[in-house]
């Protein structure tokens, strides 16, 4: 464990990223990556490039086969049930939401709170209702995940990850399959979380987002990395020198910016600058 009072939120050194379904399969070789508290990282890569499994390693759900992975200074290989408080500092949403199908959206959101916090039902109901309203989920609260549109399932998954007020939020391809309006809402909401949302007491969050569509995430304050062909490359801020020569960036931008320069400075979708 690190002795620093503010250790990095995520620290990976020479970490091979294995696949969840087949741990013998290495998707990314020797990942070296540090996420400091208050940073907003976007990890871009084509489908099946290992982004999702990278997040599972970062969240401590996959034990490193070699190298080192630390979460708030604590080795994820040593995280066990006695350190559940450390685990709960991380919120994770999956690319396919992975809501519990037999529970309504409200019950899905309430589950972690009910399991980990000994709250009175009224207080629990108030917290969940507030979060559902924040994410515009109130009309769908009593519905099962199978009976609502994809965007609301994705938002319910986000609410479920946020309900325990984590310090680090990992989102696996959260903008996938969203219409522009919902995608813009999401990016704006995540920016608010990054700066510190009033609902969570104004405390800034550290965010890591994976994507296979880069343009939505262009922002001068965010940091970028790519996962491609087994290699994890840290690019830093948008538009920097590494962007111009990165093959993954060219491929990810090719579909949407075929007639533009691969890297074009754009106006951010929300207030520029980050807390860190």
């Amino acid at each position: 464990m690190s002795d620093s009072p503010h250790p990095p939120a995520i620290e990976m050194q020479d970490l091979p990223v294995a696949a969840l379904r087949d741990p013998s399969l290495t998707l990314l070789h020797e990942v070296n990556w540090t996420v400091q508290p208050g940073e907003f990282w976007v990890v871009a890569g084509l489908p099946h490039s290992g982004k999702s499994d990278l997040l599972l390693h970062a969240a401590g759900l996959l034990a490193p086969a070699a190298g080192m992975c630390r979460l708030f200074g604590r080795d994820t290989a040593e995280l066990d049930e006695s350190q559940i408080a450390e685990r709960l500092r991380v919120g994770l949403t999956f690319a396919d939401a992975k809501l519990f199908n037999e529970l309504s959206l409200a019950e899905n959101v309430a589950l972690p709170l009910r399991y980990h916090r000994n709250l009175a039902e009224t207080e629990l109901a108030r917290t969940v209702a507030g979060l559902l309203e924040l994410l515009e989920l109130t009309p769908f609260a009593a519905l099962l995940p199978g009976s609502v549109a994809w965007v609301w399932r994705q938002r319910a998954a986000l609410a479920r990850a946020l309900v325990l007020q984590p310090e680090l939020l990992l989102l696996d391809n959260p903008a996938s399959g969203l219409m522009t309006r919902h995608r813009d809402w999401l990016v704006h909401f995540l920016d608010e979380l990054w700066h510190g949302h009033a609902f969570f007491g104004g405390r800034p969050l550290t965010l890591v987002v994976t994507t296979d569509e880069l343009r939505a995430w262009q922002h001068p304050g965010r940091k970028f990395a790519t996962a491609q062909a087994g290699n994890f490359s840290v690019l830093g801020a948008w538009g920097g020198e590494p962007f111009l020569h990165n093959q993954a960036v060219k491929e990810l931008l090719a579909g949407t910016t075929a007639k533009e320069s691969p890297v074009t400075p754009v106006q951010p979708l929300s207030a520029p600058g980050g807390p860190g």
Binding site: I84, L88, K98, L111, Y115, N118
Partner: protein, 286 residues
């Protein structure tokens, strides 16, 4: 002709076949099946120990979440099956017990009625029939539900939320099924004995209901009650373990779920018969 006879003798020479190497695919198949069986037994034993550890260690953890789930499982593996078991008890009483009583009365062996009923209904038929029916009705659903949950990644979602999947998904099912099999067996035995008694009245067997029940009560010992409780709880526990193990312990694809459900039911029946055999040895030893 002589050549053919020599060939026939040669062909029927079993020694030659005994020492001949077996076809490689055949030995491979047997070895693989044996190895898979050992691995399954090892996996089931480990899963049972882990589940037992979680039940003992986390019985007071997250009660607002777990207790309703336990109640739901008791309802599913017990109360909701009650109508089917009432019907089954009536059928068992009319078809088996009534006829047995009639047959015993015809040969003047009504003195053996109590011990026969205790052995057939209380010790064997009641618990085993209940276990097999609960396995078919609830165990299959367990495998399908858990297999689907596993295939859809709900286990990873639970882990991401800091929730132990064994605590959340397995523990309520194991407790619910153990209590469900125990309760349903009691109801089945009582129902079958009562309906059997009713049948004896209808068929004019020269025996009063008082004599019928007195003989059964006289034949029952404290050991029957103790072993019945142990046996039914063991049935419920291991049916839940086998079905949950197959549904949850290994990563599955959606198309594998139905195949795994069939395998789990088959293994569940084998496990029930093995447990029954162990209890027969216990009965005989005491």
């Amino acid at each position: 002709m002589r050549g053919n006879l020599a060939k026939a003798v040669e062909w029927t020479n079993l020694q030659r076949f005994r020492h001949a190497p077996l076809p490689r695919s055949y030995t491979d198949y047997l070895g693989r099946q044996l190895f898979l069986l050992l691995l399954t037994v090892q996996g089931l034993a480990a899963f049972a120990m882990i589940t037992l550890g979680v039940i003992l260690k986390k019985c007071r953890v997250a009660r607002p979440v777990i207790q309703p789930r336990i109640r739901q499982e008791i309802n599913r593996a017990g109360a909701s099956l009650l109508p089917m078991f009432v019907f089954l008890a009536l059928a068992l009483g009319f078809l088996v017990i009534g006829q047995t009583v009639s047959a015993l009365a015809k040969v003047g062996a009504t003195g053996y009625l109590g011990s026969t009923m205790v052995i057939v209904v209380v010790r064997e038929l009641g618990p085993l029939l209940t276990a097999v029916l609960v396995l078919a009705r609830v165990g299959t659903a367990n495998v399908i539900e858990l297999g689907t949950a596993r295939a859809l990644g709900e286990v990873e979602a639970l882990e991401a939320l800091g929730i132990d999947p064994v605590h959340y998904l397995i523990m309520p099912r194991v407790i619910g099924m153990a209590l469900g099999v125990f309760s349903l067996t009691i109801y089945l035995i009582i129902g079958a004995l009562v309906s059997g008694c009713l049948f004896t009245f209808l068929t004019n067997v020269p025996m009063t209901p008082g004599d019928y029940f007195r003989q059964i009560v006289d034949a029952l010992t404290w050991l029957d009650f103790a072993l019945l409780a142990l046996k039914t709880i063991a049935f419920g526990f291991f049916i839940a373990i086998v079905t949950c193990y197959h549904g949850l312990a290994q990563p599955l694809r959606l198309d594998e779920v139905s195949r795994v459900a069939v395998r789990a039911v088959t293994q569940g029946i084998v496990v029930c018969v093995l447990i029954d055999a162990i209890f027969i040895v216990l009965y005989l030893a005491t």
